[in-house]
Point group: C2
Chain length 450, copies 2
Amino acid sequence: MISIPEAQDIVLSHTRPLGAVTVGLAGALGRVLAEEVRAPDSLPPFPASIKDGYAVVAADGVGEFPVVGESRAGHLDQLPVAPGSVAYITTGAPVPPGADAVVQVEDTEKLPDGEGSQRRVRICKAAKAGQDIRPVGSDITEGDTVLQAGERVGVAEMGILATVGAVSLKVHATPRVAVLSTGDEVVDPSTAPLGPGQIRDANRAMLLAAAAKAGAEVVDMGVARDTEGHLEGCLAAAIEQRVDVLITSGGVSMGDRDLIKPLLAREGTIHFGRVRMKPGKPLTFATLTLPQQGGRQMLVFGLPGNPVSSFVCFHLVVLPALRKMGGWAEPQLRRVAARLAVDIKLDPERPEYHRCTLQWGPPPLGSTPPPPHEASAHGAAGLGSMELWAVSTGNQISSRLLSARSANALLEIPCASGVIKAGSLVSALLIDDLGGMPVPPGGVPVTPGF
Amino acid sequence: MISIPEAQDIVLSHTRPLGAVTVGLAGALGRVLAEEVRAPDSLPPFPASIKDGYAVVAADGVGEFPVVGESRAGHLDQLPVAPGSVAYITTGAPVPPGADAVVQVEDTEKLPDGEGSQRRVRICKAAKAGQDIRPVGSDITEGDTVLQAGERVGVAEMGILATVGAVSLKVHATPRVAVLSTGDEVVDPSTAPLGPGQIRDANRAMLLAAAAKAGAEVVDMGVARDTEGHLEGCLAAAIEQRVDVLITSGGVSMGDRDLIKPLLAREGTIHFGRVRMKPGKPLTFATLTLPQQGGRQMLVFGLPGNPVSSFVCFHLVVLPALRKMGGWAEPQLRRVAARLAVDIKLDPERPEYHRCTLQWGPPPLGSTPPPPHEASAHGAAGLGSMELWAVSTGNQISSRLLSARSANALLEIPCASGVIKAGSLVSALLIDDLGGMPVPPGGVPVTPGF
Ligand SMILES: [Mg+2]
Ligand SMILES: [Mg+2]
């Protein structure tokens, strides 16, 4: 049996980034750029005031001056500023020719108008040349690469694209993903009451949501019966839909109606069909080459039917593949270390991907605090006992989907005998945004010393 | 001037969770439940096999047995299993009456058929009673609360909802958010080439994306000119659109065309108009009570025009408000500690919200490693120098939106003189998903010892 790192390598070696498509700016959020973006002009495009105040000749220093003009953002009626005069200026407005500094309004004093209603102001604080002026190109220089190919477009990047006028962009296509549940016992979630021997389909809603959250375009393929004919028809329908990826759940165990592996062996190449992991051992990965569609390749992930197994397998092997297709340069799950809140019993046969909730703060209620020598070392660093804690989601049996409730990480629990004691540092793979992680009683903790 | 924690408290004290709406299961992802969800039936609803193999009477032990029936998932042709006989069974299938354990197929051996084509099997390993059977209700008991009101629906929760047949759900409504840019100098991102004195509107695309990413329904209000009449019209249009929140950018400085504060003072109540922070000092928050709409309340955030200021202010004060409206019980930004990769100069006048990229691993290239006594303390804990590092995004001037590029956290840099040395622990507010954080050269690091 191969390990999960080996399985991940095999999957990624058979996965290629999808080609580029053109989208408008509004469609760029979350996508990965397929080309670099350059600035067609400088920012600011003119010497711009950083403050509301007066554009001055710095050498003039303090004193009383006539206000000979006004420069407001977006307006062009700029008189040149000669030595011995100033111009009113607003934030973001062009500094008029002749002026070489801005004095903020707080450092000035309005004076009564002079002869011929000439406006006048007292400059109370001498300016240095260049003060409160953003020179042309100081934020972005014309021709600069502002974003690289391969960067993901987040909130700030949306603003950067808008700033440089990048309103039409080449980004990687998002994968099309079909999700199929299998099993004669599996019925639609809307079924009530359940008939004898039936269970509701948890996997399809979950995997569709997981793929959509990863940015994929999803296709709901329903539930397949445990017959060769029906499964073949479902596979053909997924191909017909031109999906890049088919995710199935169920049908990969050792029963006489587990027909997914034989089907994939007939129609394509199975790269692995068992992985040394808990949960998820029968995880299967195959590729199909489709001569009827120009020889293109489709990936098929045969996930186990147990909902927790399919949850874990999705995150460990399918998610990195979807990210790579979508153009992520680093598609692997990110890893951090966290301190274990409770003892975890080791499994001597398989490494376990233990669902947990990471939270930052003091030791969680009911946890064993870290050994004294470590606590004091942290105390010396000003952190006290504030750190990232891994709180188990409880009973990890693979049918119990409640063990994935609120989970934001998978602990990598090595295969060994005995227990890992509470207070130990463990490795955690991030599967959800820590920006929504649980908050300890008393609110979001403040770092001591800040 | 108030502080950011004070500003956050004021904003949240004027913000209420929105009422409940009913959505189908497919629309529940990312939403917050407005009611608890209970299981209408037990899971499994019948004693279910965990393995493919044979349902046996445990007391029979090892030996050769006739196979008197088959129990396949989703099929009901179950003969009772009497002592001295077994039944074939597949994973997830009901354990037939009479049987009290399952022996996995790996621990059995097929035998030649007996008299009358009777199928026979050898049980090679004695079973304990209850072995490899999930009792009724062992995962979920009928009537259990599987999800609480106030929980956010993530990927696993979608599966849990499907499992219990919760296909119609009460969730908190998502806020409707209008975004308006202001400024006579501000033109649409599609403008090329720029006219004299013009700059492209970065804020609108960025804030629309930020609000959408936070789950809001967004309304693009365009760019307002710097006139009272146009601004009043834009505010009226936002009210007409029945938005819960209006976010403006620009027009809150001290210039004579900064008309947002006077407008909000006329039409509603300004709760604050200056905050002790860098960047973002002119940040403004107001509420409007709308008699023409049943007295409902609308929040208005007047963000500064500088793109970085509006980026920072959105995350610090608008995002928690949007989360609270959407039903988050803990809407505040989450905080972690991270080790600073480079020196940061302190500002003696205002605390700084320094944009940075958090990454986990060894000290980043070009960083100063932590002082030896701390490094060794961590080494003793088995972590080596792997930890969360805060890498500055560079020059933090508030016009330079490139300082928000790739930022996933805001460092809370206290107001003081001098520098914070590289290697110090600093407090960081999470503003993006660490699941996509930068990976150090050499790939995602493995925790030493695992
Ligand atoms: Mg099955
Ligand atoms: Mg303005």
